[in-house]
Point group: C2
Chain length 107, copies 2
C-alpha cells in the first residue's frame, strides 16, 4: 500500500517550501491547485501532458514532503489538496506574495 | 582567468531565486551578507568553517547565477555583494518577507 509522507505543520521549514517552489514545473502545479482550490489528481494539476509520469511523481513528492500539499489515495488515483492553512500559519504572507509575483512575472 | 556569470536584472527569475534560497546553507550565507550590507569574501560569509571549499563554491555559484549576489575577483579573493536593489526591483517585498520569516522561524 502506498504510504505518503506529510510533515506535521510545525515541521514545515521555510527552506523546504522555497526549494519546492524553486522549480517552474512545481510552481505551475501549485498555481493550478491554488486556482482550483479543491482536490486534483496529479494529471489534472500537471502543467503539461508531455511530462513523464515518473517525473510528475517526483515533483508531487517534493511538494508533499515540503508541506505544500496533502495527497491521499482514492481508488487508483492520487488526490492532492493544498495545505494553504498550514503554510499561512507557519509563514504568513508568503504564498500570497509568491502568487502575486508569479502573476506579475508572467504578464 | 575566472569568469563569473551574472544574469541581467531582467533575466532574474522567481523560481531561480526561490531555488537558491531553498537551502539552509545558502539562506545563512545570504542572511550574513544582508546583515553585513557590504562586501564579503566567501569564507567571511560562510555560516560554518567546516564546509569544504568546493561545497562553498557551489553554493556561491547558485546564489550568483540566481541573481542574488554579485562576485568579483580581488587579488586571490572572491568578493561578494548582495544585488538587493535588482531583486527588490524584480520581486518587490520578497527579500524583506523572507528575512522576516527566517528570523521568526529561528527565534
Amino acid at each position: 500500500m502506498t504510504q505518503f509522507i506529510h510533515p506535521a505543520k510545525e515541521d514545515i521549514t521555510l527552506t523546504g517550501v522555497l526549494n519546492a517552489l524553486g522549480d517552474p514545473v512545481r510552481m505551475n502545479i501549485l498555481k493550478a491547485m491554488m486556482k482550483n482550490d479543491g482536490c486534483m489528481s496529479c494529471s489534472e494539476a500537471s502543467p503539461c501532458t508531455s511530462i513523464p509520469k515518473s517525473t510528475l511523481s517526483h515533483h508531487f513528492r517534493v511538494l508533499r514532503e515540503s508541506g505544500l500539499i496533502r495527497t491521499t489515495k482514492q481508488g487508483v488515483e492520487h488526490r492532492n489538496v493544498n495545505r494553504t492553512d498550514d503554510i499561512n500559519a507557519r509563514f504568513p504572507g508568503l504564498l500570497k506574495l509568491i502568487v502575486t509575483l508569479v502573476e506579475a512575472e508572467v504578464s
